[in-house]
Amino acid sequence: MDSLTPAEQRELQGRMERKQMKDFMNMYSNLVQRCFNDCVNDFTSKSLLGKEEGCVMKCVDKFLKSSERLGERFQEQNAQMAQQGGMMR
């Protein structure tokens, strides 16, 4: 990556920002889909039941904490692998 010119790095930076935005939106909608799927199963009412809402809130919390922990471990492993000269050696 160090062989990119400054202009190329700026372009890459821009693309990465758009990608981050897209990733965030994907993460958000996966989160909604998963928590909806796991928590909402009663369609005899039009509004969320109290226990469904509680489940969704705990699901979101748990998912965010998991993602954060997984992100930390992922970066550690990635750094370790980079030191060993990449996955392919």
Binding site: R18, M21, K22, F24, M25, N26, M27, Y28, S29, L31, V32, Q33, C35, F36, N37, C39, V40, N41, F43, T44, S45, K46, S47, L48, E52, E53, V56, M57, V60, D61, L64, S67, E68, G71
Partner: protein
């Protein structure tokens, strides 16, 4: 139309377009997920008849309503989390 705070004024033309596009894409993705989720919840996989019956139709309507409610709850919660995370610099800043 201002979902998750996208769509606020942006300087350059490319950025304005990207923001508008992202907003439309978000709504469209949300619809696709709604279709996926609610048909799985409400339509049994045996397909005995081609028409929606009464029970299936009502289930779909309620599913949409609950899906929006969950989206509102989750996005409110995420905004709170985002504010907290902005300092600590987490992965989804």
């Amino acid at each position: 139309m201002s979902f998750l705070g996208l769509g606020r004024p942006q300087p350059s033309s490319a950025e304005k377009l990207a923001a508008a596009e992202a907003e439309i894409e978000m709504v469209s993705n949300m619809f696709n997920q709604l279709v996926d989720t609610c048909t799985k919840k409400c339509i049994p996989a045996d397909y005995r008849e081609a028409d929606l019956n009464k029970g299936e139709s009502v289930c779909l309507d309620r599913c949409v309503s609950k899906f929006f409610e969950v989206n509102v709850k989750v996005s409110e919660k995420m905004q709170g989390e985002a504010a907290q995370r902005q300092k600590s610099g987490g992965m989804f800043g």
